[in-house]
């Protein structure tokens, strides 16, 4: 009983981080047709921000606060140097951002070496729930992730910014002719996606090993979540992230990590075979 409760909590926190990563991917893809292969490296840079902040003697929370700001700034630079030249050329974006991901990875290797870094869990305590105890930090991480996901959904589905963003997604030319600066919307969305990945990397850093290639471990399930859920609707990301995260985590524990990976890919293949545009595909906006 205790084992199952802990497993469910761990799986939930994995799903929430996955959704944070996938949300950034999906808004950038939906809005400007950019498949950002470097999204995992933005996540990794967020984790390294916390590592470096720690080495400089700064408290964890300050590092976690700096991470979205720093990674958002990196996102702004990437948008300006690379992404704005290849909007809506999806195949080109894969190649360009894949190259970028190698550059970012190697840059981190040059500065901090290929070995993994560790971040001390900022809150060591655990809470007793019934007859088992669970780390407070993990509960806090889940709370923060839920709030961020809710915030993102509100931003894109309820706010005026979101209405403009979805208008640009649906009909970029028409939105521009209504006076909406589509380039500025693209830029802001990309920076938001980057900052989100950076923050996700920062808060998950104390729980995993931080190394230059850690991004891939979240990028691939992130993409599969979007494929399973459907790229058109934000709710698809929640569903896809939930399915992929649950399958992956539960089977890793019950069977083996390899079988879990196989199951995730099988799940993706079956769903895409049955519903080519994902479970929530074809629906837009919601």
């Amino acid at each position: 009983m205790t084992d199952i409760a802990i497993l469910i909590l761990n799986t939930t926190s994995y799903i929430l981080i996955l959704v944070l990563v996938a949300l950034g991917l999906v808004v950038v893809f939906g809005m400007m047709g950019v498949i950002n292969m470097a999204h995992g490296e933005l996540f990794m840079l967020g984790a390294y921000t916390v590592v470096v902040a720690g080495q400089m003697g700064l408290p964890f929370w300050l590092g976690a606060l700096l991470a979205p700001l720093f990674v958002g700034a990196v996102g702004l630079l990437i948008e300006w140097m690379l992404i704005r030249h290849i909007y809506r050329r999806t195949l080109d974006t894969i190649l360009a951002t894949w190259g970028l991901s190698i550059v970012l990875k190697q840059a981190v290797v040059l500065f901090y070496g290929p070995s993994s870094q560790s971040v001390t869990v900022p809150i060591a305590g655990a809470v007793a729930i019934g007859d088992f105890s669970y780390p407070i930090y993990r509960l806090l991480l889940m709370t923060m992730a839920v709030m961020l996901i809710a915030g993102m959904l509100w931003l894109f589905l309820r706010s005026d910014f979101g209405l403009k963003a979805r208008a640009v997604m649906a009909r970029p030319d028409t939105a521009a002719c209504l006076g909406i600066d589509t380039r500025a919307m693209y830029r802001r969305t990309f920076v938001i996606g980057a900052a989100l990945a950076g923050f996700a990397g920062a808060i998950v850093a104390p729980l995993i090993s931080v190394d230059p290639s850690m991004g891939l471990g979240y990028l691939i399930p992130g993409f599969i979540s979007i494929m399973v859920g459907g790229a058109g609707a934000l709710s698809g990301v929640l569903l896809g992230g939930g399915l992929v995260g649950a399958t992956n985590n539960l089977l890793t524990v019950w069977l083996s990590p390899v079988l879990a990976q196989i199951a995730v890919f099988l799940l993706a293949i079956i769903i895409i075979r049955l519903r080519p545009s994902g479970l929530m595909g074809g629906r837009h906006g919601t």
């Binding site: 649906a170 028409t174 209504l178 909406i180 589509t182 906006g285």
Partner: protein, 233 residues
């Protein structure tokens, strides 16, 4: 209000507009007629900055707008109702209208009351999904969306295309009312002679990317030969 001089524009290497020039004075309703493929839609898109311009000049309200971004051109006060209406199907009627205001950096984000007196259906069905509207209602929404920001001039691309005949005249009357109420300058691209007769002051005929003849609207009421020459195949 709008002056286009020696404009060359098109898609890639094919120049649809060849040395096209017109002037639309403030307060005038000018209809642009011509057969399909003569460059009417291309002209409006080029004016809105949606197509690259190879040569020539476009001045709107004393600003040169060649090379400007579409949103900049819109913010100068040029409203555009594109061909096929291009409403946001998944959004509500009210959201479509609010989008017409949001791009304009004014602090006043309330929809002008006048819009709803011209198009009462938009108030009655403000919360309905715009995609569920009929073609005619969608056209009214697209026109209203372009008008909420109070533009100085409106570009209308075939507002009667794909609309049931009973509504065509209705939309024509409504546009005439709007032009009279506001003194709005309008450049109307249209194939439908009825609506041109209803609202236009002047008619320009277009052939192969060039303006070939300009007449007052009275001329097409009297001279059927004129229409036959420019519109029949």
């Amino acid at each position: 209000m709008l002056a286009i001089n020696h404009l060359h524009a098109g898609y890639g290497n094919s120049q649809v507009l060849n040395d096209f020039s017109i002037t639309v004075p403030a307060g005038e309703v000018l209809a642009l007629m011509g057969r399909n493929g003569m460059g009417k839609t291309t002209l409006l898109k080029a004016t809105m900055g949606l197509l690259p311009i190879a040569a020539g000049e476009i001045r709107f309200d004393d600003h040169s707008i060649v090379g400007r971004a579409s949103h900049d051109i819109a913010r100068l006060g040029l409203g555009y109702v594109p061909q096929g209406r291009e409403i946001f199907d998944d959004f509500t009627v009210l959201e479509n209208l609010r989008l017409g205001l949001m791009g304009h950096a004014s602090n006043n984000q309330t929809l002008p009351e006048q819009i709803f007196s011209w198009f009462p259906v938009l108030r009655d069905r403000a919360d309905q999904r715009a995609g569920s509207f009929s073609g005619g209602q969608q056209q009214m929404l697209a026109i209203a969306r372009a008008l909420v920001s109070g533009p100085k001039m409106l570009l209308l691309d075939e507002p009667t295309e794909g609309i049931q005949p009973s509504l065509v005249h209705d939309i024509g009357l409504r546009l005439r009312e709007i032009a009279r109420d506001t003194g709005l300058t309008i450049l109307l691209v249209e194939q439908n002679v009825d609506i041109v007769r209803t609202i236009a002051d002047q008619v320009i005929f277009m052939e192969n990317g060039k303006a070939v003849e300009q007449v007052p609207v009275g001329a097409i009421r009297q001279d059927d030969d004129l229409l036959a020459r420019h519109l029949t195949l």
